[in-house]
């Protein structure tokens, strides 16, 4: 009979014994050694049926299929664009995945995306060698004009977005800014300069207090004190940021 040696939803460190016996199975971030399941990285322990997995609490962004990210054009090649996506690997956007418009043979690709442009894109494929392919065909995928960029820890992105985008729409409603959150921890904010600053402060606050419960209520309070009463509309469209 196998049993868990540490409580579920606690922090485990590499090499820590999590479970004993063959009843549990090691999943993401855990590994088996003889009769024990050990932690293979630092993170939060979760048990899903028989599977034991570890949710990362820190670390750089790793590209994942179907993630919506914000990238910056760092190179224009003969058949597409290369993007910097806030991780160890750069991503490629090929001409045919970029637009359904007709592109003249030999056209200067910089008229579509120029060096330094920020673009919302979706990851279509990641190979074992971490070659990343992007697409900008799809709802909400586009080039970004104006606004400003802030970076957050990519492990905190789910918290910034909130359940069904509750947190991000809260900030949108309060500040009137347009906000897009990339899964890679890059956030684009566009609005009144004064309100952009408030939005950034709010995001920093979420990042700092991401571990506490009742954060949404406190953020409502915080934003009301900064921008006055705002109407809490339920978000009308499922947002660009998943």
């Amino acid at each position: 009979m196998g049993n868990l040696l540490v409580q579920e939803r606690t922090v485990v460190v590499p090499g820590e014994k999590i479970a004993e016996g063959l009843d549990y199975l090691p999943a993401n971030g855990a590994y088996r050694k003889d009769d024990f399941i050990l932690a293979g990285r630092l993170g939060l322990l979760t048990v899903d049926g028989r599977a034991v997995k570890i949710i990362p609490l820190s670390g750089r962004y790793m590209p994942k299929r179907n993630d919506i990210i914000i990238g910056k054009v760092i190179d224009v090649t003969i058949s597409g664009w290369r993007f910097e996506i806030n991780c160890a690997y750069s991503a490629m956007l090929s001409m045919k995945d970029a637009t359904s418009d007709f592109i003249q043979r030999g056209a200067d690709l910089r008229q579509f995306f120029d060096l330094g442009d920020m673009v919302v894109a979706k990851i279509v494929n990641v190979t074992s060698q971490k070659l990343v392919d992007l697409t900008t065909k799809g709802p909400g995928l586009r080039k970004l004009y104006g606004g400003r960029i802030v970076y957050v820890n990519c492990n905190k992105v789910p918290r910034v977005i909130g359940k069904q985008g509750s947190m991000v729409s809260l900030i949108k409603n309060a500040t009137g800014c347009k906000i897009i959150v990339g899964q890679n921890g890059v956030i684009w904010i566009d609005g009144e300069p004064k309100n952009e600053v408030i939005a950034i402060e709010a995001i920093r606050k979420i990042e700092e207090e991401s571990h506490t419960s009742g954060l949404t209520d406190r953020m409502t309070e915080y934003l009301e004190s900064k921008c006055g009463k705002f109407k809490q509309e339920q978000e009308e469209q499922p947002q660009e940021e998943q």
Binding site: R9, T10, V11, V13, P14, G15, E16, G29, Y31, K33, L38, G40, R41, L42, G43, L44, P56, L57, S58, G59, R60, M62, A88, Y89, S90, S128, Q129, K130, N155, P158, S210, H211, T212, S213
Partner: protein
């Protein structure tokens, strides 16, 4: 005549007092502070990130790159020339090899994980303190690791086996053996074993056992440092 009383009054198997803390350098992906007695080490981990120069890239795995550096004022009053020298290069290399058996960088082909170890103050055992700090920092950076590594020095002073030598003991005016070791508890393996001085086989084996024991104590302190940083985030609810 034998070395029965240690210079700083410690017991034979007693290690110096340790303080450890994770996440001390905000700009780094992972970092740690590790102080054992008067030896202080900081480690900062950056990455996985793109590796340059490109010829160093390995398509089968990510690589680990360690850099050990003593600060100019770190020694016993004489200015230590900072930067690369023969000794620093060697320690950088052995540190890398001590950590490599536990880190798994297969997921990061062509990339690099950089570990910077800085020592603002040293009193012997600096490579061991560096390895301990680096191990905490790597875990803090979320790098996949099989286990933590801890390190300590063991040795003999005038025939007496002792654990965690300080500078006074290393420089003691009698026959001294100084053996820094790094230990991986889950597999019961040593990933660093160097020696300065002379020792018999039996004494060496006995000393290594004591060293492992001390390492197991240090591992607990390293684990505690990591858990303290993430304790609050453990209550996270999604």
């Amino acid at each position: 005549m034998a070395y029965t009383k240690r210079v700083d009054g410690r017991k034979q198997k007693e290690i110096r007092p340790i303080t450890a803390q994770a996440g001390v350098i905000k700009n780094a992906d992972g970092s740690a502070y590790f102080k054992i007695g008067n030896t202080v080490a900081y480690a900062a981990v950056y990455g996985p990130r793109e590796l340059h120069p490109k010829f160093m890239q390995d398509p089968s795995t990510g690589i680990l790159r360690c850099n050990y550096n003593m600060m100019p004022f770190a020694g016993m009053g004489n200015r230590v020339r900072p930067g690369q020298n023969r000794r620093a290069k060697e320690i950088s290399m052995v540190t890398e090899k001590a950590l490599l058996p536990v880190v798994d960088l297969k997921e990061f082909p062509n990339a690099v994980v950089d570990v910077f170890i800085e020592l603002p103050q040293t009193d012997a055992g600096s490579r061991c303190a560096g390895i301990c700090a680096a191990s905490i920092a790597l875990a803090d950076a979320g790098i996949p690791m099989k286990d933590l590594v801890s390190a300590v020095s063991v040795g003999t002073v005038d025939g007496t086996i002792i654990v965690d030598l300080d500078y006074m003991e290393e420089a003691y005016d009698a026959s001294v053996a100084d053996i820094p070791i790094a230990y991986i508890p889950s597999t019961d393996e040593l990933s660093l074993l160097q020696m300065d001085g002379e020792i018999t086989k039996d004494t060496l084996l006995e000393a290594l056992e004591l060293g492992k024991q001390a390492c197991r104590e240090i591992i607990e302190i390293q684990k505690k440092a990591l858990k303290e940083k993430y304790l609050v985030s453990g209550e996270e609810n999604e």
